[in-house]
Symmetry: C2
Subunit: 439 residues, 2 copies
């Protein structure tokens, strides 16, 4: 094997290339220029060598639904139903963001994501300051589709109402700045049927498809929302979203907890992407999304933590465990096998981001986005199956290393791209200022 | 303040004395001979000083339902319904235990418990080798009520069938050895209505009450179990348990997922203790126990992880989070407030162990059973309420120190009473031998 100046060899690994593959014991991974060159049992030399001493090496997680801008609100409004939670706390806090507070929130989010093994994400931000989110995420090294949020009807809550033209003009500016970025992409997110006009949604869809951007919205999270849409439009929520263009393989619909058979047919026919948020659906009392039914129907389902104020974590291990556990009493103990859950958390996430050829599994030619999990924790040492361990036993702190494009973002308990002490200080300061502005 | 040779001062703490108290900022705790002497804002000198640098200091968790002997089976039987899971995997593994394998399982359990902040527990072991569990737990320093299991009818599964006289004779021996232990107590556990004869349950109750021991059984975990009891006895399960003596403040009933109004009346009238196992009830597809209803009726409810093969963790943080989340879609977002959950995980656990005067809160005169939680984790630094953080944000690895009776069992990522490297090696060896014997 030829030696390259920028190559990296991982050795002594239990490599688990994907949810559908067997573990390769005592294996190696060769990486060059951030790309996976070779995976398996082989000998090679490289400029940089990492002996992982028996760690499980697997693809990094892909979370397809987060609100980075809300992380700094964590704990502000607990144990409340969705609508008062949104209107009395989340929207006023979002409206009070400035670039400094949204930046602190985004970096805090990335710190938690990297430490817990998420290497790529899609997020819905707010109606302003999306550029500050891009700048923050860029510094951390994560891969992200960052969606600018559109709301032209907010039920009388003026501070978050932005005209469509102004929103799309901001998207133009964002595209100018970030359109060619290697790790970051712009997406567009009309927030949900009740905070956007039909014209807004239709024109945003046209804009996104003209520019090749992903679309993202909330859908059918709670029954009062579905009923209000029915009352206003005469249509079921998914029927309505379909009528304005918000279905298709380029659309990520968060939640989809309450859907009727005809709506499910539309989702299948249009190959729309379901973004499952198990913890948040419990925390806001929304319900349990029929995920095994969606998967059986052939839908692409991936997982996201939603926002910190309704979770309260950004931890894929918690989401995978919850995704598995909550289906069982409703269906049976065999519902949603662990391999399906890991696939949702990795490859199906990548597919939702339209990057399944680049990430989501460890395969030659894909980007080197991976994590190391400790084999030494008391909660896994008597258990052998990697999928069982990853879904039901491992926790965030078992992540020993997080790598994106061959670059180490976290190792030995330390983030490499974020000044942790400065971040803690900034978050406390910005949270206080934000609360003073909001309330 | 007089200096003592065995006193200890904790300073610079955010002390949270109980679920029902406010946090005391910049506080200290003085401990002497393992007892809490003073808590609050004061200055003192002591032989040993621990500056906790802003950690949250709170009571250690009390888990009231575990199977230490099953921990080494973790991952053996996944995503299966209860009865085949029990009969094809758990019982054959239990029957194949020898003192060495059960010892490895018990120490592994204690390692996970200590690291994740549990300082006291009640466990149901198997029909043999309970002395080896006592010996193992004693070495770790945890406080425990270890229940010897009785099964005289096991549906044709002979290897775990033990005559009542033999079981009670073993209890006599255990009492002789451990009756005066400071941290360990014997309890007795007729396994459940379907694996014990009525005489067995009645005589075990008499025995326990004569000796002053706690009683413990499974109750109404799944509908097939409840139906079988009805078929055999003509009674509802709790009615039947009541008829044989298995109700009262000295009885811990695990699960109680499926109970009818009349059964709930019996539980309330007899002040029987409910042991809630939210994760295990989901994992085995049992259902969601009506915990807010039980609490409203005045019942004492505490929390346990059940066994590692149906969880797969022994982590009170996971159980608290799950306990809170699963009630919300069924009731409403305000169901089961966080302070109630923390109280269940601490004081109500202590009450169930009949040790509420000695532990469960940080108060003068109680035993110094406490944990330190890091204030620096990304998932808590923007959130202020301790109950919210403990239930929905903190994870096991946020425990920085675990103390029982003033003795440090875990600090800076290391266990002080368990040789971790030796444990890992032993667990792997014993698991393999056990599987060879069982299958």
């Amino acid at each position: 094997m030829e030696m390259m100046s920028n190559d990296l060899l991982i050795k002594n690994a239990r490599v688990w290339p994907s949810a559908d593959a067997e573990v390769i014991e005592d294996a190696s991974i060769l990486i060059k220029d951030g790309e996976l060159i070779r995976i398996g049992k082989f000998r090679a030399r490289a400029n940089t060598l990492i002996d992982v001493d028996g760690c499980l090496v697997m693809p990094g997680f892909v979370q397809t639904y987060l609100h980075l801008c809300q992380t700094i609100f964590r704990g502000i409004a607990e144990d409340m139903p969705l609508l008062p939670w949104l209107k009395n706390y989340i929207w006023p806090m979002e409206a009070s963001h400035d670039p400094a507070s949204i930046r602190a929130s985004a970096i805090l989010s990335c710190a938690e994501l990297i430490r817990s093994g998420t290497t790529a994400f899609m997020s819905m931000e707010t109606v302003r300051h999306t550029n500050a989110v891009f700048e923050a995420v860029q510094e951390t090294g994560l891969i992200g589709v960052i969606c600018h949020c559109l709301m032209d009807e907010t039920g009388g809550y003026k501070p978050l109402t932005v005209e469509l033209e102004e929103s799309l003009a901001e998207c133009d500016v964002l595209l100018d700045h970030w359109g060619d970025h290697e790790r970051l992409q712009l997406g567009v997110a009309p927030r949900f049927a009740l905070s956007c006009s039909g014209d807004n949604m239709r024109e945003t869809c046209d804009y996104a498809r003209e520019k090749g951007l992903l679309l993202h919205t909330h859908a059918s999270e709670q029954i009062p929302e579905v009923e209000l849409v029915k009352e206003r439009t005469g249509l079921l929520n998914i029927e309505y979203l379909h009528s304005v263009g918000l279905t298709g393989p380029d659309v990520g619909l968060a939640h989809c907890v309450h859907t009727e058979p005809h709506e499910r047919e539309i989702l299948v026919e249009t190959d729309t992407r379901i973004l499952h948020c198990p913890s948040a659906n419990l925390k806001l009392a929304s319900g349990i999304a029929p995920i095994p039914e969606y998967m059986k129907a052939g839908l692409t389902v991936s997982i996201g933590a939603d926002g910190a104020p309704c979770n309260n974590r950004f931890d894929m291990f918690m989401e995978m465990r919850e995704a598995g556990l909550i289906q069982k009493p409703r269906l049976r103990a065999q519902a949603l096998p662990v391999a399906d859950i890991v696939r949702m958390a990795t490859l199906e996430g990548a597919r939702t981001l339209r990057q399944e050829k680049e990430m989501g599994t460890l395969e030659k030619g894909k980007r080197a986005n991976l994590i190391f999990l400790s084999p030494d924790r008391f909660h896994v040492i008597s258990s052998k199956d990697p999928a069982t361990n990853v879904v039901y036993s491992h926790e965030a702190s078992d992540v020993m290393l997080t790598m994106v494009d061959g670059e180490i973002l976290y190792e030995d308990g330390r983030l490499t791209t974020i000044d942790e002490a400065a971040l803690r200080k900034t978050v406390v300061e910005q949270r206080q200022k934000l609360e003073e502005r909001a309330f």
